[in-house]
C-alpha cells in the first residue's frame, strides 16, 4: 500500500494535511459535507459518528472498497459446529457460526454503503455546478503519478492503451476497463469496487417484491388444501355411520377442493414474465391436480362403499340426496383424470384441466345425460347377440343382488367415461388406429350397460 502514503495530500478546502487518500476522503466526508447537504439530521450525525468510530476501530486496515484487503472479521466459526441429534441421520448446523461472521461483514458493509450513498448525493449536487474542482472537494483524487498500475486489474498504465481514470467515488486511479458509469442525473465514473457497493445498495433498496396476485392465489390453494386435510379424516369416519352429517361435510369438502382447483387454474392463467415463471405456474397446477386426484378419490368411492352396506336407504334416492349440485362435464374436451402420468401432464400442459374437481365428482353421479344416445336398433341388435352368445347371462343377472348390480353399473359408467375421454383425445391427435379399437371398447361397454340397466 506504499502508494497510499504519498505525503502530498492536503484538503482542498481547509488545507489540512492528511496521511493517505483514504483519510483525506474521510475528512472530506466528515468535515466538509455540510455545504452540499441540505439539512443535517440527527440520524445523519449518528451515521457520521458511527462512521468515524467504525473507521478508527478498523484502524490500520483498509475498509472495503478502498483498499484491497479484506474486511476484518471478528467472529470466527467455533472449532466444531453444533451437532443436531434427532432423526436417523447426523445433521450439523453451521448457521450460528455463519450468522456471526455475516453480522460483522454486513455491519462493515453498511457503514461503507452509508458513506458511499452520501458521497453520491453530494457529487450529484457538485456536478450540477459544472465545476470539476467542486467534485474534488467532495472526493479528493489521487495524484496522477501516485501509481503506475491499475489496482484492480494490475495492468500498467500507459499513454494510450491503458489510460488513467479517477474513480469519482473513492478517488483512486484505475484503468478505463475497470470503470463503469453511474447515472444519477450526472454521469459519474466509478471503479469496480465502488460499483459493487452501489449494486449492493440498490439491491437492498429494491425491497422484496410483494408476492402480488400469485401469492394471493397460492394462499388460497394452501387454505383449500388445509381445509380438506382437516375435513377428510372426519369425513371418512362418518362414511357409512351418519349419512346426514357426511353429506353436509361433503359440501364443505367439495368447496375446499374447488377452492384449490380454481386458484390453481387462475395461477396457470396468469401472464408469465419468463419461461421459468410459466414453468412455475404449470408446476403449481400439476401439484394441485395430483393432490385432487389422490384425495378426492375417497369422495368418489362413496356410492360403491355405501352400496355394500346394509340398512341404507334406497340407492336411487340416496345418490340424489348426497350429491351436491355440481357442474357436470358436458363436453369431453379434456380427458378424464386417471392416475396415469401421461394424462396428468396433458391436463397440466393444456392449462385448462376442464373443471377437474367437477369432473371427478361427476364420476360419482355418472350422469346418464352425458351419454350420447346410440341408435337404439343397432344397440338392441348388439345386446341380442351378446345374450345369444351367453344364454345363462340373464338368469345369473336375476340372481345378483341389487347392490351388486348397482356397483357394477357404477364401474361400467366410470369406464365408459374414461373411454370417451380417450376417444376425444385420439380424435384430436388423429390416432385413427387407436380410435377404431376405442370405439370397439365403447360399444362393448354400451352393450354391457344396457344389459345391466334393463335388468335392474
Amino acid at each position: 500500500m506504499g502508494t497510499f502514503e504519498t505525503p502530498a495530500l492536503s484538503c482542498p478546502i481547509c488545507g489540512v494535511q492528511a496521511g493517505t487518500l483514504l483519510l483525506l476522503n474521510m475528512h472530506l466526508d466528515e468535515m466538509h459535507s455540510d455545504g452540499t447537504r441540505r439539512v443535517a439530521q440527527q440520524d445523519d450525525l449518528d451515521d457520521v459518528a458511527d462512521a468515524i468510530l467504525g473507521f478508527f476501530r478498523g484502524a490500520g486496515k483498509a475498509v472495503r472498497g478502498l483498499g484491497t484487503e479484506q474486511v476484518p472479521v471478528n467472529g470466527r466459526v467455533g472449532a466444531s459446529g453444533r451437532v443436531v441429534e434427532d432423526g436417523p441421520g447426523v445433521v450439523r448446523s453451521l448457521t450460528a457460526g455463519f450468522m456471526s461472521v455475516r453480522r460483522a461483514a454486513v455491519s462493515a458493509a453498511r457503514l461503507e454503503d452509508n458513506r458511499v450513498e452520501r458521497r453520491i448525493e453530494r457529487l450529484a449536487l457538485a456536478h450540477g455546478s459544472g465545476d470539476a474542482e467542486a467534485e474534488q472537494r467532495v472526493v479528493a483524487w489521487e495524484p496522477d503519478g501516485a501509481r503506475d498500475a491499475c489496482p484492480l486489474c494490475a495492468r500498467r498504465f500507459g499513454r494510450l492503451a491503458v489510460r488513467r481514470h479517477h474513480c469519482r467515488i473513492c478517488g483512486r486511479l484505475v484503468c478505463g476497463s475497470c470503470t463503469t458509469e453511474l447515472d444519477v442525473g450526472a454521469r459519474l465514473r466509478m471503479c469496480g469496487d465502488c460499483g459493487r457497493t452501489v449494486a449492493r445498495i440498490r439491491s437492498r433498496q429494491a425491497a422484496r417484491p410483494p408476492g402480488g396476485v400469485l401469492a394471493a392465489h397460492y394462499e388460497a390453494i394452501r387454505a383449500g388444501m388445509a381445509d380438506a386435510d382437516r375435513l377428510l379424516p372426519a369425513f371418512n369416519r362418518l362414511l357409512g355411520r351418519d349419512f346426514g352429517r357426511a353429506a353436509a361435510m361433503r359440501g364443505k369438502l367439495t368447496r375446499a377442493f374447488g377452492d384449490a382447483d380454481r386458484a390453481s387454474k387462475l395461477i396457470v392463467a396468469l401472464p408469465a414474465d419468463s419461461p421459468t415463471d410459466a414453468r412455475l405456474h404449470t408446476a403449481i397446477r400439476r401439484a394441485v391436480v395430483m393432490y385432487l386426484q389422490t384425495h378426492m378419490f375417497t369422495l368418489s368411492m362413496v356410492p360403491s362403499k355405501t352400496g355394500s352396506l346394509p340398512a341404507t336407504p334406497k340407492p336411487a334416492s340416496r345418490s340424489a340426496s348426497i350429491d351436491q349440485p355440481v357442474p357436470r362435464i358436458v363436453s369431453n374436451d379434456s380427458p378424464p383424470p386417471v392416475s396415469s402420468s401421461a394424462t396428468l401432464s396433458s391436463v397440466a400442459a393444456n392449462g385448462t384441466g376442464g373443471g377437474l374437481a367437477a369432473s371427478l365428482l361427476s364420476f360419482v353421479t355418472a350422469p346418464r345425460s352425458t351419454r350420447p344416445v346410440e341408435p337404439v336398433s343397432v344397440l338392441d341388435d348388439l345386446v341380442e347377440r351378446a345374450l345369444d352368445a351367453d344364454p345363462q347371462r340373464l338368469a345369473r343377472l336375476a340372481e345378483t343382488p341389487l347392490e351388486e348390480k348397482l356397483a357394477s353399473l357404477q364401474v361400467l359408467r366410470d369406464q365408459r367415461q374414461r373411454v370417451l375421454g380417450y376417444i376425444s383425445k385420439a380424435q384430436r391427435e388423429r390416432r385413427l388406429e387407436d380410435l377404431i379399437s376405442l370405439q370397439a371398447s365403447l360399444n362393448d361397454l354400451d352393450v354391457e350397460l344396457s344389459i345391466v340397466e334393463r335388468n335392474l
Partner: protein
C-alpha cells in the same frame, strides 16, 4: 441400515422444513443422488415446483421463491454458490452441503452474503448413491476419478472421494464402525486408515453419544474375486444393468427397434413400482411367469380374452389396448423391458454362454471346459465380448493347472476375428487378480482338501445351471455370521487397529446382534447386492443386518474397462 431411507431422510428434511413455494438447486453430483431416491411428484407434493442446477447461470430471477440449495462442497459448486449469493435470484436461501465444509469456507460464504438472504446452512450427509436399500456406491467414473494410480494403489482423487462418500454414509446411518480389511490388499488398508483418521479427527460428528460404535466395516478388494463381475447375471435388476444399462435409475431404450415414444426412457424406482420391487431379484425364468401374471391381472380387469402365451403375445395385447396402455404405464414399461431383455438374450445366445460361464466359475472339469470353450470361440454367432469373458474365466480358474491352454485360446480368439485389445484383457485380469494376487482359494482348487470339497459340492446337484454361482463375498460373509469356519477368518480380515477391543468378533456360534457394512474397493455387482438382500432375510433371526457398497457398480464391460488402463501388459 437402509441406504435409500438414509438419503430420503435428508431429502425429506430439506423440502419439508421450509414451507412455501420453493425451487431446489442442485449441482452436478447431487442431482443423480437425489433423483435416485425421489420423484418429481414427491417434490411437487412438497411445494418444490422448480428444480435447477446451480451451474446454470442463465436462471431467471424469482425473488418470491425460497431456494433450497443442496450441493457438494466442491470448488466448482462453492464458486457457483458465491456468485449466487453476490447477486441472489431468489428470496431466501436454505443451504445444505452434502459433506463436511471447510471452516474457512463458512467465513467466505458469510462475507459474501451481503444481501443477507441466507437463512440456514447445514450439513446433510447424502453424499453417496443408493440404488437399493442394501446397496450403496460412490459413483466413481474412470473419466473423472480413475481408481488406480499404478498397479494396486489408489489414485489420490478417487481415494479422497471414496473416504468422503463412505464417511457420509456412516454419518447418515449414525455409525462409527470398527474397521477390518482384507490383509492382502494395500488399497483396502489405505482406505481404512484414511477413514479412521477422518473419524477420529471429526470428533464433533463421530464422537457423540448418538453415534453407534458397535458396527463393523469390512473393506474388501475386488481382486480377491474377479469372477463375479464377469458372469452373466440372470436376475431382473442385474440383467437390466448388464444388457441395457441403468444410469441413476434411468433406462435408455431409444436404441430398441420399434420402440414406442412414451417408453424411450423409463425410470425404475422401488418406491413407486411394486412390480419391480417384487421382481427385481427374480431370475429370468421366474420373471417371465411373474410378468405373465401381472399382465393377466390387468387382462381380467379389462375383460379381454386374448390368449397370452409368450412375451410377443403380451406386447401385442398391450398394443391392442391403447386405453389400457395409459391406465397401466407400468405394465407397458415392464413388458417392454422384459421383451427387450429376451430379445437380447436370444440374439447373443446368452443361455449357451452362461452355461459355460457357470461351469468355469463353479466346477473343476478342465477337459470338458476346454472343449466347450473352443467350440464357443469358433461359433460365429457368439459376440466377441462373450468369447473373451469365457476365456478370462478359463484363464483364472486353470491358471496353475496342468495343460493350461490360455496361450492357445488367445490364438484361437485372434484367428476368429477378436480384437487384439480385447484378447489382451485376459492378461489384464490375470495381472490384476491372478492367483498370486488373490488371498483366498477362490476356485477351491489349490489344495487336495479344498478340491475334495469342490467335487462334493458339484455332486450335490444344482437347481439351475445358470445360477449355480454364489459370489465369494457372500459365501465369506455367510460363513462368518454362521460361525462355520470358527474364528480363522479373522486372520484374513484383521482389525485395522491391532489394539481393537474386543479383538475377535463373535464366537464359535457365529455372530449375533451386529450391523455389518461391506465395502468393495474396485466395484460391487448386482449379484452381490442380491446375495446380501437374501442374507439379510436369512439372518434377521440372528439380528444381523448387512449393507454392501463399492466404489461403483460394475457390469462385466465397465469392470474390464476400469482395469484396462492400469493393468494393460
Amino acid at each position: 441400515m437402509d441406504a435409500v431411507k438414509a438419503v430420503q431422510y435428508y431429502t425429506n428434511r430439506m423440502v419439508t422444513d421450509v414451507s412455501g413455494m420453493k425451487v431446489l438447486l442442485l449441482d452436478r453430483e447431487t442431482t443423480p443422488i437425489i433423483s435416485l431416491v425421489s420423484t418429481q411428484s414427491y417434490l411437487l407434493a412438497k411445494e418444490t415446483y422448480l428444480v435447477d442446477r446451480i451451474e446454470n447461470s442463465s436462471r431467471d430471477t424469482m425473488r418470491h421463491l425460497k431456494c433450497i440449495c443442496f450441493v457438494r462442497p466442491t470448488d466448482a459448486s462453492l464458486q457457483a454458490l458465491l456468485d449466487e449469493l453476490r447477486s441472489p435470484k431468489y428470496g431466501d436461501y436454505y443451504i445444505y452441503f452434502s459433506n463436511i465444509l471447510k471452516k474457512s469456507m463458512i467465513e467466505v460464504l458469510a462475507e459474501n452474503d451481503e444481501s443477507e438472504v441466507v437463512r440456514e446452512i447445514q450439513e446433510f450427509y447424502a453424499d453417496f448413491y443408493a440404488p437399493t436399500p442394501c446397496l450403496f456406491h460412490i459413483g466413481l467414473v474412470p473419466s473423472v476419478h480413475p481408481l488406480f494410480a499404478e498397479g494396486h494403489s489408489w489414485n489420490p482423487g478417487a481415494l479422497g472421494r471414496t473416504v468422503q462418500g463412505l464417511s457420509a454414509l456412516l454419518l447418515s446411518l449414525k455409525k462409527r464402525p470398527n474397521i477390518r480389511y482384507e490383509r492382502n490388499s494395500a488399497m483396502a488398508q489405505k482406505l481404512g486408515q484414511e477413514l479412521e483418521y477422518l473419524m477420529s479427527h471429526e470428533a464433533g460428528l463421530f464422537g457423540t453419544k448418538a453415534i453407534d460404535n458397535h458396527a463393523q466395516l469390512f473393506i474388501v478388494d475386488r481382486k480377491n474375486d474377479p469372477v463375479t463381475p464377469l458372469l452373466t447375471q440372470w436376475t431382473y435388476h442385474a440383467l437390466l444393468y448388464e444388457l441395457i444399462g441403468i444410469n441413476n435409475g434411468r433406462i435408455d431404450l431409444s436404441h430398441v427397434p420399434g420402440i414406442r415414444p412414451e417408453v424411450k426412457e423409463v425410470m425404475l424406482s422401488q418406491d413407486q413400482d411394486t412390480f419391480f420391487k417384487q421382481s427385481q431379484h427374480l431370475n429370468f425364468g421366474d420373471l417371465g411367469a411373474s410378468i405373465k401374471k401381472f399382465v393377466e391381472m390387468y387382462q381380467t380387469n379389462t375383460k379381454s380374452h386374448h390368449q397370452i402365451e409368450s412375451i410377443a403375445d403380451m406386447k401385442r395385447f398391450v398394443e391392442a389396448y391403447p386405453e389400457f396402455r395409459k391406465l397401466s404405464g407400468n405394465v407397458t414399461k415392464h413388458v417392454t423391458l422384459v421383451g427387450e431383455l429376451s430379445r437380447l438374450v436370444a440374439e447373443r445366445h446368452l443361455l449357451a454362454v452362461s452355461e459355460l460361464e457357470q461351469s468355469l466359475a463353479c466346477n473343476e472339469q478342465h477337459n470338458s471346459d476346454l472343449k466347450a470353450l473352443r467350440a464357443l470361440i469358433s461359433n460365429a454367432k457368439i459376440t466377441a465380448e462373450n468369447k473373451v469373458r469365457c476365456a478370462i474365466l478359463y484363464a483364472l480358474r486353470y491358471e496353475r493347472a496342468q495343460g493350461n491352454a490360455t496361450a492357445e485360446l488367445k490364438q484361437l480368439l485372434t484367428s476368429n476375428g477378436v480384437d487384439a485389445d480385447q484378447v489382451a484383457s485376459i492378461d489384464v485380469v490375470l495381472r490384476y487378480a491372478g492367483v498370486s494376487e488373490r488371498q483366498s482359494d477362490l476356485f477351491q482348487n489349490e489344495n487336495l482338501f479344498s478340491r475334495g470339497r469342490s467335487i462334493f459340492k458339484g455332486l450335490q446337484g444344482v437347481e439351475n445351471v445358470y445360477t449355480q454361482h454364489t459370489p465369494a463375498l457372500a459365501e465369506m460373509v455367510e460363513q462368518i455370521v454362521r460361525g462355520k469356519q470358527g474364528l480363522h477368518w479373522q486372520e484374513r480380515l484383521p482389525n485395522l487397529d491391532p489394539k481393537a477391543r474386543p479383538p475377535l468378533l463373535g464366537n464359535e456360534n457365529g455372530i449375533h446382534n451386529q450391523d455389518i457394512i461391506v465395502f468393495v474397493v474396485g466395484g460391487v455387482t448386482m449379484e452381490e447386492e442380491m446375495a446380501v438382500a437374501k442374507l439379510n432375510e436369512k439372518f434377521a433371526s440372528q439380528n444381523v443386518r448387512l449393507l454392501i457398497g463399492g466404489t461403483s457398480i460394475h457390469t462385466s464391460s465397465s469392470f474390464l474397462a476400469e482395469l484396462s488402463t492400469t493393468f494393460f501388459p
